[in-house]
């Protein structure tokens, strides 16, 4: 169960922190600090630095990601920023610009 959902018409400007899954369908600007999964859905727009365990991106992310487990950029995903994580997946069709650091 995704405990927190940011719906498609919601805009958050600030900081989100938590210890549970977060699904973003709307817009978040600022900072995201989690301990679980972050899912940016197709309609989701994130302009934030992200710190969490797992990140799955189908939407648009601008910012740096520090993930302790895994970052997955799906075919619809667009990402600008640096990624630091032991496992990084970039699907065919995804757009990515930035540095990748898998040496955590």
């Amino acid at each position: 169960m995704a405990n927190t959902i940011i719906g498609s018409s919601i805009v958050i400007d600030g900081e989100i922190s938590g210890e549970e899954d977060l699904v973003i369908q709307g817009t978040v600007k600022g900072k995201i600090v989690l301990k679980e999964n972050l899912i940016v859905e197709g309609s989701g727009v994130v302009e934030a630095d992200i710190e969490t365990a797992n990140v799955t991106i189908s939407g648009q992310v601008t910012g740096n990601i520090l993930a302790s487990e895994r970052v997955e950029l799906k075919a619809d995903g667009r990402m600008i920023g640096d990624v630091k994580s032991p496992r990084i997946l970039i699907a065919d069709g995804a757009t990515f610009k930035g540095n990748v650091d898998m040496d955590v």
Partner: protein
């Protein structure tokens, strides 16, 4: 309660119990807070704060249904509903405010213009215009002097107000160019008349309360006294 259940059943956005948002949150859909939000919330739909939810924010929404804790001002275009589990510290501004038994609240409530939109002003308007009410009130100090001696301070005030209303109602029928002095005299006479007969003043009071605009006039009268 219907609304509460409806809003809780299918909220588009949920801030989960372990999630903490600091900053501004705005949007055009329902929002349910089970976790915590610090900052501002600006929605065009319904905000539901779950019993476990904590919101420290100024809130602008259409509807707010508070079962949790809110510290901050709430401004709703439709309704603010504080359920029995709700705790709110802050000012409420909404045309409808519901505080159920058990709800805890500290702050001001502003329900805006008290004139109910359901009752068109035209019903009361032809019977009594606001203009005659004003001169009658201007006459009050003098009228109070004349009426006061036999009674302690508070009751005469009430009587005077009723008398003023009694004078004011037939006033439109009289010549509009009545001088203020004449009206003052009339008010004083009305006071003298109505004082010994409480039944009449009661009647005039109940009549006064029936149409909507007099409420405004009464409010203004009170305001003048402060």
């Amino acid at each position: 309660m219907e609304k509460t259940e409806k809003a809780m059943s299918n909220p588009a956005t949920v801030i989960g119990a372990q999630t903490h948002i600091k900053g501004n949150l705005e949007g055009d859909e329902d929002l349910m807070v089970v976790g915590r939000v610090d900052g501002n919330i600006n929605l065009s739909k319904t905000l539901t704060v779950d019993p476990d939810g904590v919101v420290v924010a100024d809130i602008q929404v259409q509807r707010a249904i508070i079962s949790g804790t809110v510290v901050g001002n709430i401004s709703a275009s439709d309704v603010v509903h504080i359920t029995e589990q709700g705790r709110v510290v802050g000012d409420l501004s909404a045309p409808r405010v519901v505080l159920v038994e058990g709800a805890s609240f500290r702050g001001n409530i502003d329900m805006g213009d008290m004139e109910a939109p359901a009752r068109p002003a035209s019903i009361a308007a032809p019977r009594r215009t606001r203009t005659p009410a004003r001169p009658a009130r201007q006459a009050e100090p003098e009228a109070t002097k004349q009426a006061a001696p036999p009674k302690p301070a508070p009751p005469p005030r009430k009587v005077v107000r009723q008398a003023a209303a009694a004078t004011a109602r037939p006033a439109p029928a009289r010549a509009a160019e009545d001088s203020l002095d004449k009206r003052a005299e009339a008010a004083a006479r009305a006071v003298a008349k109505s004082t010994p007969r409480p039944s009449e003043s009661k009647k005039s009071k109940s009549k006064k309360k029936a149409p909507k605009p007099p409420t405004t006039a009464g409010k203004r009268t009170r305001a003048r006294r402060k």
